[in-house]
């Protein structure tokens, strides 16, 4: 800690549902102003963590502080926006009335804000709640989570049910939240959904946090295929022994290889010649992500028996 109070701080947070483990000994700090991607397969403990933070369920052991207060303190929840993983909306009331009601209960929403968000997300608020489509339900959920400009947004699987265009709009909204210095905790079971916006990702599996990584660090570890074309054949020895470059093949005027982490050495070597074309596949974070799973998974399964 460097004087900044963590927005969420979990210490030894543990939750058992009867004998079934939901979450084991979670230590986690979410820093002010960051977007934290919380990743794991379904049933790994993401929703359990989120519901503990919001005091919907109570920990078996350990504690969690949110915005400086214990999670049991209800007043702090006015400063949180929450999108549940499985948002249930029912009844004959118009979909627009529900965010208005929630907004009042949270201490007020700037006028016009709900309508502006609805327009941005192309949500129909005139439909009775019980008859919203899955996509529209998710949009109402996002509106009520964002509308009061909370200091902390907790979004459980926020992109499920949104079409790709709306997913982009949603990610833009998340970036705006970070730009205004506020904090986001969002869960997903697909890394690709959160890697573009997240500053850090935490990976949870079978109730345990197995890794917390800076996304940029993760990218540096990532393997990418690189292909360079030159205006004339290049000497193979110019590309020999470059750090971090594997499987290098020089064929006339083209060079192909795999780069671990930074492509810096390869780029500097190539810069001595005239590059006419450069192709690089995006780093496959998913692959790194899965390595975490399989390594920790084998380790973890041994401990699973009570």
């Amino acid at each position: 800690m460097t004087g900044m109070t963590a927005v969420v701080r979990a210490e030894g947070l543990t939750k058992y549902y009867g004998r079934r483990r939901g979450l084991e000994d979670l230590d986690l700090e979410i820093r002010p102003g960051e977007i934290f991607g919380y990743l794991g397969p379904n049933g790994a403990g993401k929703t359990t963590t989120i519901r503990l933070v919001l005091d919907v369920i109570r920990p078996t052991r350990g504690q969690v502080h949110v915005l400086g207060a214990p999670s049991r303190d209800p007043s702090v929840r006015a400063r949180i926006g929450y999108l549940p993983g499985e948002l249930a909306l029912e009844g004959r009331e118009k979909a627009g009335d529900y965010p208005r009601f929630l907004g009042k209960a949270r201490g007020g929403v700037p006028p016009g804000r709900i309508e502006a968000l609805a327009e941005r997300l192309d949500a129909d608020l005139g439909v009775p709640m019980g008859r919203l489509s899955k996509g529209n339900r998710q949009k109402v959920g996002l509106i009520q989570a964002f509308m009061h400009e909370p200091e902390l947004l907790i979004l459980d699987e926020p992109t499920s049910g949104l079409d790709p265009l709306m997913q982009q709009e949603f990610l833009a909204m998340v970036r705006e939240v970070r730009a205004s210095g506020r904090t986001v905790l969002m869960s997903s079971h697909v890394l690709a959904e959160v890697e573009d916006v997240s500053d850090r990702v935490g990976i949870v599996r079978a109730g345990r946090l197995v890794a917390v990584e800076d996304v940029s660090a993760l990218r540096e570890k990532a393997v990418r295929r690189v292909e360079l074309h030159f205006d004339a054949p290049v000497p193979p020895e110019a590309f020999h022994g470059l750090p971090g470059v594997r499987d290098l093949r020089v064929e006339g005027a083209s060079v192909r290889g795999t780069v671990d982490g930074r492509p810096d050495a390869l780029i500097k070597a190539a810069a001595k010649f005239t590059v006419v074309h450069l192709a690089s596949a995006p780093p496959d974070l998913e692959e790194i992500f899965l390595t975490y799973y399989s390594d920790e998974g084998r380790h973890d399964d041994r401990q699973d028996a009570p």
């Binding site: 919907v56 929840r77 549940p84």
Partner: protein, 263 residues
Amino acid sequence: MIAKTLREYRRALIGWTAGIGAYMVLYVSVYASVKESPEVYGPAALAKFPEGMRDLLGGLQDFTSGPGYLQTTVYQLFLPFLFLACAMIVANRALAQPEEAGTLELLVTLPVSRGRLLLRRYAALVIGLAAVAAVTLLVTWAMAEAVEMEVPFGRILAAHTGVLLLGLFFGTVTMAVGAATGRKGPGMAVTGVWAVLGYVAVTAGQSVDALAWLKWLSPFHYYGSGQPLYNGLPVGDYLVLAGATAVLALTAVLAFDRRDVGV
């Protein structure tokens, strides 16, 4: 929160008010013919029913007087049970039903303590049931006047207050069990069993000496034994009902406050 909760209850409340009101109109209006020919309805009513059934209907000693008819057809069995069913169904909408549906999740994450959330949704239940009672009271009184039943408004009010208190008691039972378990089924089971056994205990059960003490556990004892249609407001009995209801509501708060929601 109270207004929003009332909107959730609204359709059920309106439906039950209409149903109970229709029942009242139907049964009270029949009194016109009972009154015209008491020699037919008096003995006939007594002879028609086997003894056990007569006990369940409160004895049937007096069917042809205004209060006697009103007591037998309305306040003895049917109205309390209709109102009780209404209270039970609406009470489930306070917590158990939204929890089963998943809509409670966002409500418990509002900046409101669990206890306060429950009490607001409970307040809406009390207001809603009071409204149903008020409307059906007016219907009953208007009908009683129309057929010249000769029961003063004060007596009908006293009996109807008992119906409201009894409904509130059982509604609170349903809500408390729902608050503790998060499910509708157990609340309805506990309420139904308690109501039926409680009713039998103060009617048919009274002839069995070994079971006579059970009446003290029956809300119907405090509801009916004071005979409000004849004697006016049984203040002590009603206070017992109201007090027990308050204790149950408090129990519900404590149970809901320490529980995981939606698991």
